[in-house]
């Protein structure tokens, strides 16, 4: 993040005013994905062994990332591609814009890519007078709507078909019925010409195979093949964490990815791209450029606990299963990546000053840990980051509000001091007596009103110690 300080992410403020249509749309879609996922997982006898293998191989790759990245660079270069290294988002944008200017592109077509969302590439294109066209249906929709993605694999998951139809009518001036087939046909017709006109296609990649320098792009709509083969120039922007050692490793991850994401055995299209076309007789682009993006990943790598964040293969399953995500949607998380993985990734990438609310956006229920195909210990990393925020660590000084830190010290003092704890337990029921009715408290002063504004609180009862004393009276003391 060169230059500008990242904007503070207001999860709490957003969560107080979630548009009511969002949880409905999100829960419908994620429920469907989880249902099919469960069926696919049940078919696999070795699912747990696969998860373990995937976790091991991702950790191994991260531990030797330098080796595999160098091998990747050699192999991509040997296949006729060109590799660029980008330390941060600005460098990555500069590389891509440089390539676009070099080939004289006025328009570019894009496959859904979280890495280009991460670096804000579309905005940079527009600033440079180049028009980017998203070609994945979901990305096309959110580009029309002018928002970021609200889910890492289904970017427009927050919208219902009626809302999409209204958006098409408004932005495209066409008569769009609230019918998915008709809406897809409208988008397809609009996009077809873009594919043919664009000089440059931009993609991400789900994986990079170091062994052969192969980009692996997984899609369901076929737009990925169009973007990476029709234009003369193909640019891929990919995080350095996406490298896998070899094809054998890749097969393990591919088995897990689609099943975890959409409940498919395999996505409709899995494209393997090794270099540009070798002769004019072949299909495919004349030039292949690979921009490898660090943007803070190597910093995460240095943190032993948090490192496992980078095992992520972006299946989105942790979002689908997360009760918090399903009630707030993706925009609450303030960046392109949301849900549990966003809650641990974003504060590390943008810093805990901007992202301090996110690690607390979890009940630590652990549902995400159960389904993660690469076994990221998400709750453990959430706690690790909460510690960074509350009291600071090697990576960052504390960023929690002073009042919270003072309250924690007071809580420690009263909970760890026996007589004070027992005194509190005796005094509280007396203090709250005027507020309690039928054993319930409907109102409490701030900050405790944060409980009672949502549901009544059972009244303090206490009295166990007195009961115990009476119960054990006459018993020989232990």
């Amino acid at each position: 993040m060169s230059g500008e300080a990242p904007k503070y992410i207001e999860f709490g403020a957003y969560s107080r005013h979630v548009p009511p249509t969002i949880p409905v749309a999100v829960q419908q879609a994620t429920g469907r994905f989880l249902g099919t996922r469960a069926a696919r997982v049940a078919e696999m006898e070795n699912w747990e062994a696969l998860r373990q293998a995937a976790s091991d191989l991702r950790l191994h790759t991260l531990a030797h990332l330098d080796v595999y990245l160098e091998r990747l660079e050699q192999q991509v270069t040997a296949a006729g591609g060109r590799v660029y290294w980008a330390r941060d988002a600005a460098e990555a944008r500069a590389h891509v814009l440089g390539i676009a200017r070099g080939c004289g592109a006025r328009t570019v077509v894009k496959v859904k890519s979280m890495a280009t969302e991460e670096i804000g590439l579309n905005h940079a294109f527009e600033q440079a007078g180049i028009q980017p066209f998203e070609t994945d249906l979901g990305e096309y929709i959110i580009q029309l709507a002018g928002t970021g993605p609200s889910h890492i694999i289904v970017p427009a998951v927050h919208l219902k078909k009626e809302e999409i139809a209204a958006l098409f009518r408004e932005k495209l001036g066409v008569d769009a019925p609230a019918d998915p087939v008709a809406l897809t046909a409208i988008a397809r017709a609009a996009l077809r010409e873009r594919f043919l006109a664009a000089k440059m296609g931009v993609s991400g990649a789900n994986f990079l195979v170091a062994e052969t320098g192969t980009l692996v792009v997984v899609t369901n709509e076929g737009n990925g093949r169009m973007c990476t083969t029709v234009p003369e120039v193909h640019v891929a922007v990919v995080g350095i964490d996406k490298v896998v050692p070899d094809w054998e490793s890749l097969t393990v991850l591919l088995k897990l990815l689609a099943r975890s994401a959409t409940g498919q055995k395999l996505s409709t299209y899995t494209s393997f791209i090794t270099g540009p076309r070798r002769s004019d007789g072949e299909g495919g682009p004349k030039e292949l450029h690979l921009v490898l993006l660090d943007n803070g990943r190597s910093r995460i790598l240095a943190d032993e606990v948090a490192r496992e964040t980078l095992k992520c293969i972006r299946c989105g399953c942790c979002l689908n299963v997360c009760p918090v995500y399903k009630n707030v949607g993706g925009f609450a998380y303030g960046w392109f990546i949301s849900g549990p993985i966003g809650a641990i990734f974003t504060p590390q990438m943008l810093g805990t000053r901007a992202g301090r609310e996110l690690p607390y956006a979890s009940t630590l229920c652990g549902a995400c840990v159960d389904v993660c195909p690469v076994k990221i210990p998400i709750t453990k990393i959430l706690l690790h980051l909460r510690r960074r925020i509350a009291q600071g660590d090697r990576v960052a000084p504390p960023s929690a509000p002073l009042a919270t830190r003072v309250a924690a010290r007071l809580a420690r003092w009263s909970l760890a001091t026996g007589w004070l704890y027992r005194l509190g337990a005796r005094v509280t029921p007396i203090l709250e007596a005027p507020l309690a009715r039928d054993g319930w408290i409907r109102w409490l002063p701030a900050p405790l009103n944060r409980w009672t504004q949502v549901r009544p609180m059972p009244a303090f009862r206490g009295g166990f110690r007195a009961w115990w004393a009476a119960h054990t009276k006459g018993r020989s003391t232990p």
Binding site: P323, N327, C365, A390, W467
Partner: protein, 246 residues
């Protein structure tokens, strides 16, 4: 032969559910245990730990370690999340090699959640209770995923006379409590709690049973706000029951 157990009552248990603690003592005594209550105990430090305040949590955990001390008497608690704290997180709070780390290691090995202790350690599923009502079971997160107790509470419920267990849709979905979460993001907590309450009411059960005071406070509050007559009960309340609902 009288076997001793130590009660770990938990701070929420002591302040909000003293009846559950009394019933737990009664059941354990009926099973032939001599129950001890280390009176110096306060809280395990979980709220501070989960808030990220590990240094403060360490201070509270230290008090816990000294309250229960050395020895090999089993420590039994009516809360999955508090046992999860003692078993899995105390060790992280004290540097390996320190006396407190060793004390924590011993405590991790002898601290049990109530249903876990009965079913896994003692092999007991029938405690002689009778509860002639329909009951739905909510799987508390730390009980289920933290301690891996997927069937123990249900086995105990199944052995209760005249009880009818009805399936709760999304039984394993969090109720929205989440400790500090419930007051940091109350609106999200409410949305999750309301979904849980809708599912509970939909079963038509007379009571919903869980094994953690935090979840019960949240769910009971939600049920009350919804004007529902469904009771949120701790497992122990059902196991201590001898006939009527109250």
């Amino acid at each position: 032969m009288q076997r001793p157990v130590q009660l770990f009552v938990t701070c929420l248990g002591e302040q909000f559910y003293p009846n559950v603690l009394q019933q737990m003592v009664a059941i354990l005594e009926r099973l032939g245990f001599t129950v001890e209550f280390p009176a110096a105990q306060t809280c395990c430090g979980q709220p501070l730990y989960n808030g990220g305040f590990q240094d403060q949590a360490r201070g509270v955990a230290r008090g816990f370690l000294h309250a229960f001390g050395e020895g090999d008497t089993p420590i039994v608690s009516p809360s999955g999340s508090c046992v999860d704290m003692v078993r899995h997180h105390f060790l992280e709070l004290f540097p390996p090699g320190s006396a407190e780390h060793e004390l924590a290691r011993g405590m991790a090995g002898r601290t049990f959640e109530f249903s876990e202790y009965l079913v896994r350690k003692l092999g007991i599923t029938d405690v002689g209770a009778r509860f002639p009502h329909q009951v739905a079971y909510h799987a508390s997160c730390h009980h289920l995923r933290g301690l891996g107790l997927a069937t123990e509470a249900k086995q105990l419920l199944a052995a209760v006379k005249d009880i009818e267990l009805v399936p709760l849709p999304e039984e394993e979905t969090c109720c929205g409590f989440g400790g500090v979460f419930s007051v940091v993001y109350p609106e999200v907590s409410r949305a999750m709690m309301q979904a849980k309450v809708r599912n509970i009411i939909g079963t038509g059960a007379a009571a919903v049973v869980a094994c953690d005071a935090g979840c019960l406070m949240n769910i009971a509050g939600g049920l009350r706000q919804a004007g529902s007559q469904v009771r949120a009960m701790h497992l122990i309340e059902v196991l201590a029951s001898q006939g009527s609902a109250r």
